[in-house]
Amino acid sequence: MKLRFARKHLCIPYALFLALFVIAPILIMLYYAFTDSEGGFTLMNFASIFSDITALSAVLSSVSIALLTTAICLIIGYPVAYILARSGLKHGKTLLLLFITPMWINFVMRLNALKEFFALINILDKSAYFNTVIGMVYDFLPFMILPLYTTLIKMDNSLIEASQDLGANKIKTFVNVVIPQSMPGVISGITMVFMPSMTNYVISDILGRSHITILGKLIENYFMQNNWNMGAAISMMLLAVMFVFTWLTGGFNDDAANAKGVGL
């Protein structure tokens, strides 16, 4: 038989990559999550997450830090994105670049700089919790601004004019038209900030000086202690939570996926 090159063959390299580095590891993780140290099937790993105080407190602080970070990012990011996208600034693009350039500087370097700054103004030892939140906001803010900016800049100006034409003043127009129209951006911004801030333990390690344990750290700890089963179980649970979250916010819809695609 003659070997024919078809367009679908172009995806072979990625399919291999996907199988080796995404699907296989997940299967391995699943195996460990549902087995005990002897290799027998068990659900004990999941049960002990909810009975173990350390694990529970890690879940709680992870969720609360992630929620707080996301909320602050949204409160800071929305006005910035709105001004950049809609107020017709002459140098809007340049300003946007200013907000994004920090992303190009090495992440660990940025965090250590922030740590030194905290030490300088004497707040490094005050609250590991808030230091972590500030660090996360600092790191993830661009991920909130970017998708918001892209949805706001795409918004049809005639909708705003129509709203004003129909008697709504600027504030009402903002509430009734701008916010609903920018929802895809809000959702993808939230997704892009909330998910990493649940697990990014490097920030809590450096800025919280390991006084605070979030889920990511907990997983690392279990793996370091050679308890792969527990580590895998928590990872799987996190994966499930994120899956549900994405599904609830419509992240699998075509529309939202498009908005996110532009955001990235």
Partner: protein, 501 residues
């Protein structure tokens, strides 16, 4: 009381890129259906947006019922707009879209409190009132069953109807319509035209309509305002605009017309296509004029029986009538008639005196202000042209070094001498390649005048115009350059003399 609902007084709107609306004066009567008509970029939409409040005039005043509303924001004006691309809120259904304006509204209600005092209060409309008004508006646009539908699932025509309902439900004093039928197909457009006209009658509110479609304007309006380059060309009823166009732009823009060059040869007598016609307009003797005759006003007769003989050059069936090109020498007259005459047939034409419309010629020649540069070339309209500088001083000559030697023996350096340049319409040559000529620009207007085209080429920066009469057809928006033979450039000193040496 005068019944002017809206008045524009000396209104201009400038952008960084140029003037969109240039000092226009206009009033609209209460209950009138007025149409702003013109080609794209003529300033009609900008004018509408200033009335709506989306744009603030750079200068001038807008009065609503005699009160200045120039700086009042759109949400405080009793004016609603139907947008070009509908601008329906995609996150709301049909009902909520239409109810949007009603929900913003506050009406004054009078209460009596327990002490028997009357208290005035601003209140929202009740849910029931809103529902009643919305369903009435939906009925008006024939969309009764559509309340719960998502607007994004509607067809263009249905979205258009929702947009109209959303505006009229607020009972505005003025309804603005910005090319609302532009996105619909021909059949639907015709139906909507009649429906809108019907609606205008029923509602009794003032309609201000913007379109570039002359037929639409003629069908629907009480008054038409023809605009071009940010200025008003003519205001009048559809009938008067059609029958008595003020200039060749209006004549050409409104319907088909024959525009020929003519000369006044006597009292109410005009000569064109080599024949003296009686006419009804008074113009000074020997004046060069443009003559406009509508194709349906030309009667075809057997050869020798009419006023001018010629030959049928082509004939096309157009449904109701035939459109025939009738050649008198090199001049073409378009005729619409229900009886066909075959190509090549000889015939003659007759035109009634009242159907001959005479207009003063807009352009007799091109005039520019310019200066002479170091190389004794003349600069104007963003170009540099060879010219005969000795024309500036009769009898003068040029010496080898480029100085002008007068008859008195005096030597002049002409550098930077300011001059008035005059060039005839037929003396400018258009060149396809925009680098081969001496100045370049884009074609902004083409008007056919019987035996030639009148083309206006506008330069990019200073927006100077070259008006050119040519036999060759070009396309609007073409980039071209112009060349002028040196001997055809007329030069006059702007000030009495050049720099003396």
């Amino acid at each position: 009381m005068d019944d002017k609902i809206i008045q524009l007084i000396g209104v201009s709107r400038e952008y960084n890129t140029g003037i969109a609306v240039d000092n226009i004066n206009l009033y609209v009567k209460k209950g009138e259906f007025i149409t702003l008509l013109g080609p794209s970029g003529c300033g009609k939409t900008t004018t509408l947006r200033m009335i709506a409040g989306f744009e603030v005039p750079s200068s001038g005043q807008i009065l609503l019922n005699g009160e200045d509303i120039t700086k009042i924001p759109p949400y405080e004006r009793p004016i609603n707009t139907v947008f070009q691309r509908y601008a329906l809120f995609p996150h709301l259904n049909v009902f909520d879209n239409i109810a949007y304006g009603l929900r913003q509204k506050r009406v004054t209600a009078v209460y009596e409190n327990n002490k028997g005092e009357r208290i005035e209060k601003k209140v929202k409309l009740t849910r029931k009132e809103i529902e009643e008004k919305v369903s009435k508006a939906l009925k008006m646009v024939d969309l009764e069953e559509f309340e719960k539908r998502n607007v994004t699932t509607l067809s263009g025509g249905q979205q258009q109807r929702v947009a109209i309902a959303r505006a009229i439900v607020n009972e505005p004093e003025i309804l603005l319509l910005d090319e609302p039928l532009g996105a619909l197909d021909l059949k639907m457009r015709k139906d909507m035209q009649l429906e809108l006209k019907e609606m205008h009658k029923k509602l009794g509110i003032t309609f201000i309509y913007v379109t570039h479609d002359q037929e639409e304007a003629l069908t629907m309006s009480d008054t038409i305002v023809v605009m071009k380059d940010g200025t008003i060309q003519q205001i009048g009823t559809p009938m008067s605009i059609y029958n008595e166009p003020k200039n060749s732009f209006v004549a050409d823009f409104i319907g088909e017309s024959n525009i020929c060059s003519g000369t006044i040869v006597g009292d109410k007598k005009v000569k064109f296509i080599n024949h003296v016609f009686d006419c009804v307009d008074d113009f000074p003797l020997n004046e060069k004029v443009d003559v406009v005759v509508r194709p349906e006003d030309v009667f075809l007769m057997d050869e020798g029986k009419g006023q001018v003989n010629g030959v049928i050059a082509s004939s096309i069936f157009k449904g109701v009538h035939y459109e025939m090109a009738f050649m008198v020498g090199k001049t073409e007259i378009i005729i619409q008639d229900t009886i066909e005459r075959k190509e090549g047939e000889r015939a003659s034409i007759y035109i009634k005196p009242e159907d001959i419309h005479i207009m003063a010629k807009e352009f007799v020649s091109n005039r520019y202000e310019g200066y002479i540069n170091k190389r004794n070339r003349v600069c104007f309209a963003e170009g540099e042209f060879d010219c005969d500088v000795t024309k500036l001083y009769p009898g003068s000559t040029l010496d080898e070094e480029g100085y002008l030697v007068l008859t008195t023996g005096e030597k002049l350096d002409l550098t930077n001498t300011e001059v008035i340049v005059e060039v005839g319409l037929k003396d400018i040559e258009i060149i396809d390649n925009d680098e081969d000529g001496d100045a370049c620009g884009s074609i902004v207007s083409i008007i056919y005048k019987g035996d030639h085209y009148q083309i206006i080429i506008r330069t990019d920066e200073e927006e100077e115009d070259f008006v050119v009469d040519t036999e060759y057809v070009w396309n609007e928006n073409d980039r071209v350059s112009v060349k002028i033979p040196p001997e055809k450039i007329g030069l006059k000193l702007k000030v009495a003399e050049g720099t003396r040496r």
